[in-house]
């Protein structure tokens, strides 16, 4: 970040990937060589992307810090800023304020088994940690991934899934909500599939992200499997503006999600006022 926390660093879009009908992924590189060289982040940290003339919105950096050729952001078209971002293509300029917020405690997770449970665009923040762990594979135990979407069409990162399914050191499970012609994987809601996979909570942490309703039932399923609140990590969405804990809208009680989050354990969330 520059000394002015509101001043974006300019970046160039290298590649745009159409993930789903509503999600595009942008691979960007920072223009200033010094800023690019100094740029460092932890998996789970977020950034604000600028669509000049429209505004900013917050997205997780979903590429891992082990692969610094570009920074990757996946953007679901929902409002004005995201609609404008969806019009951009390779070579276009974009503003980036990053990294913001905290990261997954990847150091504390070393030596443990990891269960990733991602739903829809909620896979983006898991991807950065998953790839970071795969790039530091020997530091972590058994890694299980359960990734679900409404249908195969809604599944982001589909081009990576064959490799993830093939890897011996990653136990990948895919699921969709309803039967779909040609689909060879699970059909069923994420929490139910998770119960079928039946991961052991022994020396394990679960990392989940997705729509609020999915997180709610996934946490219940994890509890049923014996996971304690402090073994469950998630990352929150909030409306954010400044990204540095000042503008005052993303707080849950004393905790500012843009700065103290977005990564929390379920145990931490339970301590905060009930205002998700």
């Amino acid at each position: 970040m520059t000394s002015n926390p509101y001043l974006p660093a300019m970046a160039t879009i290298q590649e745009v990937i159409e993930e789903t009908p509503t999600i595009k992924t942008f691979r960007v590189t920072l223009n200033n060589p010094q800023i690019k060289k100094d740029f460092n982040f932890g998996p789970g940290q977020v950034g604000q992307l600028s669509a000049f003339g429209i505004g900013e919105a917050t997205f997780v950096i979903n590429s891992p810090p082990t692969r610094m050729d570009y920074l990757q952001f996946s953007v679901m078209k929902t409002g004005e800023v995201t609609s404008m971002l969806h019009t951009l293509s390779a070579g276009d300029q974009i503003g980036v304020r990053a990294p913001l917020g905290n990261a997954f405690p990847y150091e504390d997770m070393k030596g443990k088994d990891i269960v990733f449970v991602g739903g829809g665009i909620g896979m983006a923040p898991l991807r950065t940690l998953l790839l970071f762990m795969l790039d530091n594979r020997k530091d972590y135990g058994k890694i299980t991934l359960l990734y679900g979407a409404r249908s195969p069409v809604d599944m982001a990162f589909s081009y990576e899934l064959p490799e993830w399914l093939e890897r011996d050191d990653l136990d990948t499970h895919l699921t969709i909500d309803a039967e779909f012609e040609g689909w060879e994987h699970n059909v069923g809601l994420i929490p139910n599939v998770l119960l079928d996979i039946n991961p052991s909570p022994e020396n394990c942490v679960a990392v989940t992200c997705g729509p609020p309703i999915m997180i709610k039932f996934t946490v219940q399923a994890l509890a049923k499997l014996g996971f304690k609140d402090e073994q469950i990590y998630t990352t929150l969405e909030k409306r954010m503006k400044c990204g540095i804990g000042i503008c005052g809208r993303c707080n849950i009680g004393t905790s500012y999600v843009c700065q103290d989050g977005p990564v929390y354990t379920y145990a931490q969330l339970k301590e905060l006022p009930n205002e998700m």
Binding site: M1, S3, N4, P5, Y6, L7, P8, M10, N40, F41, G42, Q45, A51, F52, G53, I54, G55, E56, A57, M76, T78, G79, T82, G91, D92, Q93, G95, P99, N102, A103, P105, E107, P211, P212, E237, K238, R239, K241, C242, I244, G245, I246, C247, G248, R249, C250, N251, I252, G253, T254, S255, Q259, D260, Q268, E271, L272, P273, N274, E275, M276
Partner: protein
Amino acid sequence: MAQTKFIKKESLSAWLEELGQAHTVLAPRFEGDSIIFRPYDSEKGVFIDREATAPPKKAIFPQSETLLEYSQIKDMENLTKIAIDVKETIPTTTYVVFGGRPCDARGFTMFDRVYLDGDQVDVYYKARRENTCFITLTCEKGETTCFCNAVGSGPSDPDGSDLLITPVTDGYYIECVSTKGEGLLASSLLTDGSSMEGEATKYKQAADASMNEAPDFTGSPEKLLAVFDNGPFWEEMSDKCISCGACTYLCPTCYCFNITDEANGLKGTRIRSWDNCMSSMFTSEASGHNPRPAKANRLKNRVGHKFSYYPDIHGGVISCCGCGRCIKSCPVGVDIREMVKSAIAFVDPTAKEVPAEEPKAAPTEKPAPKETSVKAENTSAKAKKNKKSKKPASKKKGAK
């Protein structure tokens, strides 16, 4: 011993003119029925006999300010290729705010902890803060809505000011509070003030004595958390509220803002504007989810922020300066003092009847807050704080 001066009442306008040569002087004057801080105009004079309708917050935190200017530059060889030039616009104007009250100046100390003392310094606020001097007037007496004495302040509190002036016979006794204030004392219109100290002290004591009995806010951080989940309590508190946001715009300590872009062809600005936590849009998320959908949720956060969360984060300091403007200007008579006092006095009637059975009453929901839960909430808040201080250290290092 801090420097003291005296200025004759009839020299005041000449002094403000002098200060106006190097700075923009903001002083309160009547506009319609309101007393508003405006650039000083000798013909229009100043009105300092009452607290101004709106605080001088704009001097340091304008209602709307430009953060960045951008321009898109088309490549004439390839018109689809557009470079973007972004410039920061750090403010340079210097201000003297004359005739604010101690509560107004204290409001900015609430900003300071958030805008200057956090992990990231807000460079725009910092520039304005450094470029602004406050010449604060000791209050003659408290109004019925004043409660600065309940939040650790008082009618002659110099906290946040650069000079404090106190009415004495034929003029004002001037105390220098900061090194910035010293720079305003060079005028030949000012004479030595030491002989006026006794009279000024008496004036201040009379002002202190005129204050209403201070409402007792002891325990507000824990008690507000304890009633957090009590829907009926907050519905009752917010029943009258119409979410108009007058309280936020007139509050010297309300510092929340929005950031938006304004495009004008290939150029544009990114501006920051006061925002209003009483608006439903304040927290509305892209997904359509809103964590504070009802006015009860929003009022709870407004009161909670000032009397619970902020003190919890900032060493017990209540983020309210007791100016009473939110009470005076509320069109429907919502009184923040009463809300906090109600939370402190609240005893859950069901908890009283069957305290042991209480948790079983609502197994799916969080248990309703009750007297006995106060201690537990308190310790959890502390545990949280400890964690807070550890967390950024371990995570942000790698991220720097």
